[in-house]
């Protein structure tokens, strides 16, 4: 089975100097229905990697294959029809209604002169139903909560009708209830066959939804594999530089969770 998206030794640098590369020699492959969780400290290039995967940043070395074809041969709308992207920290300068935002996801399917049709609006309403936003369709987008805004952006990505969804820290700045709501949506989408790559700062979330974890650190992928194998006391200490214990819950659910340990004050 060929991988749906595959990176072969890719490297990216914001300057021409490859010595200052954000990451290099990064390779991984993701198959249909996989959920890949990218972990790693701030500034290790998780967001940059996601932007390379949708071609808005171009890798300088190596290549990315989308369904077996070199990504650099794709035009932007082609990529956007295959890969939906949920950015981090996006704000709207104008008070668009929620449905105006979500319908923007139809852009890669429409010609430059076209406006969305009734059929496009129906696709948008279906996406709103999927994430549970229908009652907010007519609300101005600057009056919704952080969790609702994140769901709006996920719905917008679904309206692109992609096979792959990239999410950049989808649970950041959200309360526990909204974090779980977003994770539930991600899991439901994965169950329906959507391939998902998400950047996260919470190893617990990797245990909850992902089947592959990659830890980015020091300009590359330090560890890669099943969450069970990768998220260990040792690896987390190496990655984040703090003491963390990974504990299995004793309620028979086989769930695991991470507990950071603070240094005891010296008496």
């Amino acid at each position: 089975m060929t991988a749906q998206i595959e990176a072969e030794n890719i490297a990216f640098s914001y300057s021409h100097d490859m010595a200052k590369a954000i990451f290099r020699n990064v390779s991984f492959s993701v198959h249909s229905g996989d959920v890949l969780c990218l972990l790693g400290p701030n500034g290790t290039g998780k967001s940059t990697l996601l932007k390379c995967l949708i071609n808005i940043l171009r890798v300088q070395q190596g290549r990315i294959l989308l369904n077996g074809r070199d990504l650099s041969e794709f035009k932007l709308p082609e990529v956007a029809r295959s890969i939906g992207y949920v950015p981090q920290g996006l704000m709207s300068a104008f008070p668009f209604r929620i449905k105006d935002i979500i319908i923007m996801g139809r852009a890669p399917h429409l010609s430059i002169l076209a406006s969305p049709s009734r059929a496009d609006m129906e696709i948008a309403y279906r996406a709103m139903e999927t994430v549970g936003l229908t009652p907010l369709a007519d609300r101005p987008c600057n009056s919704v909560s952080g969790g609702e805004w994140q769901l709006t952006l996920i719905a917008r990505a679904l309206v692109q009708e992609p096979q792959i969804l990239l999410l950049d820290e989808p649970t950041s700045h959200l309360d526990l209830g909204n974090q779980v709501k977003i994770l539930q949506v991600i899991q439901d989408l994965a169950d329906r066959g959507m391939t998902i790559i998400m950047a996260s700062h919470t190893p617990d979330h990797a245990f909850l939804v992902s089947n592959i974890v990659a830890i980015m650190n020091n300009g590359g992928i330090a560890q890669k594999g099943a969450p069970e194998d990768v998220i260990t006391d040792d690896n987390l200490r190496k990655t984040y530089g703090v003491d963390v214990r990974v504990v299995r819950l004793e309620d028979g659910s086989l769930s695991k969770a991470c507990f950071p340990a603070l240094k005891k004050p010296a008496r």
């Binding site: 808005i56 035009k75 956007a80 008070p95 209604r97 105006d100 923007m104 890669p108 430059i112 229908t134």
Partner: protein, 347 residues
């Protein structure tokens, strides 16, 4: 919060926008006819309509030839200039506000009016005829925006931010150059001409002018109208629009070229009319919301209605004509302040 079922919400929203557009078109026709009636010589509405239709249908004239000349050669070109300029500046303003992701932007932000003002002052100083004033103001309007664009390309950073900064630089340069020309101009004849030209007036609009700049302005307005939904995508930012497959450089190019030609053409026949391109899009947003799909046509219509109304006041309120650039601000500012207070929009 109460919400209508999707099917109903879907039908009512475009229906409401369409109803508003029809209302505005009716209002526009009414204001236009009123404008043709008003002036030193009052003409009855029936006569106005009959004179206009006599150009399309064979009709026996039962009105004096002077009336026909007043309507066709004096008031009609001025009305058309008002319609085109009001519509053009408003749609450019709305498109620029989307492009620059900022509701405080006007069509003049890239320096078009500063350049055009310089061109006009130069022509008044060295040629002193209206044709050269129009030609040079149009050309320098385009040159200023081209300079802004070229300057913004020097740095490899956020293109939109660099455009704004380059526009400020080029605008300042041309304003200073215009001041210099005013300073060296003959204070009896040339300097007042420059000052009056800069204040703006539709007084000089002739049928010939409309025949030349009309097509330019209509073409610019039509291109902005056609890409209006894509402007929504640009408002989310360069990177986000590209992630949705939008060719941002192309859309940006269409907006800048269209708005620049519209503004340069407007300025060359009317002088500098500020305020319209900044405020009319806001009034449109209060009526139909932020979606540019509905906003652009509505702002275009309101802009036309507004400028024709203000110009009618400018030429009838007092014995001598009030410069329209002054009046657009005096009428517009309190109305805008009131609307903001009343509606508390969410931006």
């Amino acid at each position: 919060m109460k919400s209508a079922p999707p099917q109903i919400a879907d039908k009512t929203s475009p229906g409401k926008a369409a109803k508003l557009q029809i209302t505005l078109i009716v209002l526009l026709v009414g204001v236009s006819i009123f404008s043709l009636m008003s002036g030193p010589m009052d003409i009855r509405p029936g006569t106005v309509v009959r004179i206009l239709t006599s150009r399309l249908l064979p009709m026996q004239p039962d009105w004096p030839a002077t009336l026909e000349s007043v309507i066709m050669d004096v008031r009609l070109p001025r009305l058309l200039a008002g319609l085109l300029i009001g519509a053009g500046l408003s749609i450019s303003g709305a498109a620029f506000q989307g492009l620059f992701r900022n509701p405080l932007v006007s069509p003049h932000i890239l320096g078009v009016s500063a350049g055009a003002g310089f061109g006009a002052a130069l022509a008044i100083l060295f040629f002193g005829n209206i044709f050269m004033v129009q030609l040079l103001s149009f050309c320098f309007g385009l040159i200023a925006v081209w300079m802004t664009y070229a300057l913004s390309r020097i740095y490899r950073s956020t293109p939109v931010l660099m455009l704004v900064l380059a526009g400020i630089i080029v605008g300042a340069l041309f304003s200073a150059a215009t001041s210099l020309l005013k300073y060296i101009a003959d204070p009896v004849n040339q300097m007042p001409s420059i000052v009056f030209w800069l204040l703006g007036s539709l007084n000089n609009a002739s049928n010939k002018d409309i025949a030349v700049v009309g097509p330019i302005m209509l073409a610019g307005t039509a291109s902005l109208y056609l890409i209006r939904w894509r402007i929504n995508l640009l408002t989310m930012g360069e990177e986000d629009a590209r992630s949705l497959g939008v060719d941002t450089a192309r859309i940006r190019g269409v907006i800048i070229v269209s708005a620049t030609f519209i503004s340069a053409a407007a300025v060359c026949i009317s002088g500098i009319i500020g305020w319209v391109g900044l405020v009319i899009p806001h009034i449109g947003r209060l009526l139909v919301g932020a979606d540019n799909k509905h906003l652009l046509p509505v702002a275009t219509l309101i802009g036309a209605i507004y400028l024709v109304s203000v110009d009618t006041i400018a030429r009838t309120a007092m014995e001598t004509e009030i410069p329209i650039g002054i009046l657009t601000a005096i009428v517009g500012a309190p109305v805008f302040a009131y609307l903001l207070r009343k509606n508390r929009p969410g931006w």
